[in-house]
Symmetry: C2
Subunit: 123 residues, 2 copies
DNA sequence: TCACAATATACCGCTTGCCGAATATGCCGT
DNA sequence: ACGGCATATTCGGCAAGCGGTATATTGTGA
């Protein structure tokens, strides 16, 4: 993937928020909805876009679709994700998202439903 | 400037090449043309875009317009410019641009014309 | 097989940014 | 004042991506 294509994925607020959440691990659509407080169709379309650009990978798990960052990442992608991680801390909206994500994750016990599984877990 | 606005400036190949060149110091339009091998109108319009987003600053110097990166840079901007600096080295097009820039800069002696002045020089 | 839950896609109108061609502006030397 | 150079702007056509609404798809459980 060319560098400019990475930036093309980052240049929309919703996509940026999605990728920021994915820095914390895989997530399913319903939880994106909950954390980002955006309608399902919006989330779905951004995820489809990111998937078409190979910026996320998707895996079906029963009724849910689990999205995650690419398991193999170029140096450029790693660098930019790290940069995003740093920069996002300075903006309220990302901090708020991270806060809600934490709550969502915490609200599930060890019997975590498929749509919040940790990386590495199989469906 | 919000983070997403930084990415909006980076998500076009020509703009990205321009900003990459500016990492080496101020430059005038005619030299962007020469180094990027792109028509004048294209360069001018991208520079106008970047200027409107406060991603570059412009200063007239006789017939020339000298463009440079903002003198005051947020932490986010610094981080992303550093990331760009790193990532660009991995792509041929940026290396080629850098090579041509070096030649252009070298082809001027101490009687450097205004349009290739170093940072800090007054018009 | 049926109904439902989770997610994806199609459609529409809209905005933004691209491109190229033409033209306008601003500054200089004569 | 004029002609020329460097740069900027305007215009028209075009493509991509957004937003919302409606609808389709896929898997589950009864």
């Amino acid at each position: 993937m060319e560098l400019v294509q990475i930036y093309e994925c980052l240049c929309d607020r919703t996509r940026l928020r999605i990728l920021h959440l994915l820095l914390n691990g895989p997530l399913c659509v319903c939880h994106f909805q909950e954390v980002l407080r955006e309608p399902q169709v919006k989330i779905s379309k951004r995820l489809a876009y990111l998937k078409s650009k190979k910026m996320v990978e998707a895996e079906r798990c029963a009724n849910w679709m689990i999205y995650q960052l690419p398991t193999k990442r170029s140096a450029q992608l790693k660098a930019n994700l790290a940069c995003l991680q740093d920069c996002a801390q300075e903006e309220r909206i990302f901090r708020e998202d991270a806060g809600r994500l934490k709550k969502v994750r915490a609200s599930f016990g060890t019997d975590t439903p498929a749509c919040v599984r940790e990386p590495g877990a199989t469906c």
